[in-house]
């Protein structure tokens, strides 16, 4: 399994994490070694096997649709560095 610079660029864009040119060679080595280990999966035929995304097959439990007042909006917004009148502030999106 080979990873090229274009793959790294795509991964970086999708994950919104910068990849420095200085680190890209060692990152490629790390990612390739992980993907080569993962590729061992190819050794078995799974064409007739259904996917299992969750270990427990019972139906999810739903609670009554009642109004609860467990978490306070102001308290949550206190966690943000930049907010105003109940809104989160980000850098300008539209010029």
């Amino acid at each position: 399994m080979k990873i090229n610079k274009q793959d790294l660029k795509n991964i970086s864009l999708l994950s919104k994490i910068k990849i420095d040119d200085d680190n890209s060679a060692s990152l490629i080595t790390d990612l390739e070694s992980i993907l080569n280990m993962v590729k061992k999966m190819e050794k078995i035929d799974t064409s007739s096997v259904e996917e299992l995304s969750h270990p427990i097959t019972t139906t999810q439990t739903l609670r009554e649709d009642e109004l609860k007042d467990e978490i306070d909006r102001e308290k949550l917004q206190k966690l943000s560095k930049e907010k105003n009148s109940g809104f989160y502030i980000t850098p300008k999106v539209i010029e």
Partner: protein, 479 residues
Amino acid sequence: MTELVKLSLSEQLEGLKTKSFSSKELTEAFLKEIKSKSSLNTFISVYEEEALKNSSIADKNISNNRTRILEGIPIAHKDIFCIENKKTTCGSKMLENFISPYSSEVYSRLNNLGAITLGKTNMDEFAMGSSNETSYFGKVFNPIDKKYSPGGSSGGSAAAVRANQCSFATGTDTGGSIRQPASFCGVTGIKPTYGRVSRWGMIAFASSLDQGGILAKNAKDAALALHCISGFDEKDSTSLNEPVGDYINEINSKEEHVLGIPKILIDKISNNSVKENFNNAIEILKEDGVKIEEIDLPHIEYSLPAYYVIAPAECSANLARYDGIRFGHRSEHASSLEELYFNSRTEGFGKEVKNRIFIGTFCLSAGYFDAFYKKALRIRRLIKSDFDKAFKKVSSIAMPTCANTSFELGSISSPVEMYEQDVYTIPANLAGLPAISIPSGIHNKMPLGIQFLGSYLDEGKILNLANKFQNLTDFHEYE
């Protein structure tokens, strides 16, 4: 007074009940250990003043016969469990200054049962690591020998239990993060069935694999502590609405055990001391009347590759929430929204977390989704089916916890070599099964561990087996 910290949980409860010592004395003794062994770096936060205040309240409750199950018992929480108005870092720069606005269910249950929280333990960043070297707050040292890793990711909790810095500690286990550090530190660690313990307020890594559990001095202590955190929680939609077993009584009941040994897997163990130790442990149980059956888990060798697709895939989705805007690290250097996302995430996450996000992102991206993610989910089904078949024949399954004893800090630099640490622990997470690791011997001064896997909600059964082994051996005893 230091000797108090060496008592087991049940002995501490008895001592408090008979007023041989007070909760305040016990709390002071643990705080002293935390201070005197601070170089182990087991704790990220310590709540000295508050713990002492709460211990005085506990002593009053005990005097007034208002004793709850864990009244006055000082414990520690892995810093992945949110506590209201307390810093919850998850071992990351991203959450270095995060003060949780609410409490996790695990913390609330233990707190409501009278436990005293001494502090929060160090861990691999976002629970991603098997050596406790990825924490933003520095590595944790193994109390047995500081050259060695305590294991990870619940390494702070395991080391704190081993160093007598708390009565027991909470941990989480996504691919072995309770059992592997338990094995490396020579303590007992249990990961219950997926859904047995609420994940509410437990910071997510890989949601279909993460499960909270306990690190304790022995199986009896683990049984009581696990009982206290188990049970349905409507705030977690994957919580199981099933009655909780009476682990404390089950642990001493006369159970018939049929223990399955995955022979092919055991034969393939390359480390002779691990193999020999495992076989000796099985021999001890056999002599005590445990029936041994060979079983086959034909797809188990694919657990590691499947896990390293599923866990990173879920991690890349879960960690997308750290955008620098609502909470967590926000970059000071951003002139556009896009730059704010990029810079906050690039500055806030450490190398291992980034690697896993990259792998997950890659496996979920167009063109690779079927070959990696879907393939891994199909293998997950095969692994679960292998266990389902095996549990028709046997009541528990035994495996070594790890492929080796602890390694020296800094000695593993290859990510794959590090991931291979979890080769025996991952299958239980993929299938959602309960598993317990207990000490089974010593090699070159460092502990070895054996784990018992149970069928769904059979925590009582594996605790019983672990307790039986600990009644027959003294590997779990330490100073």
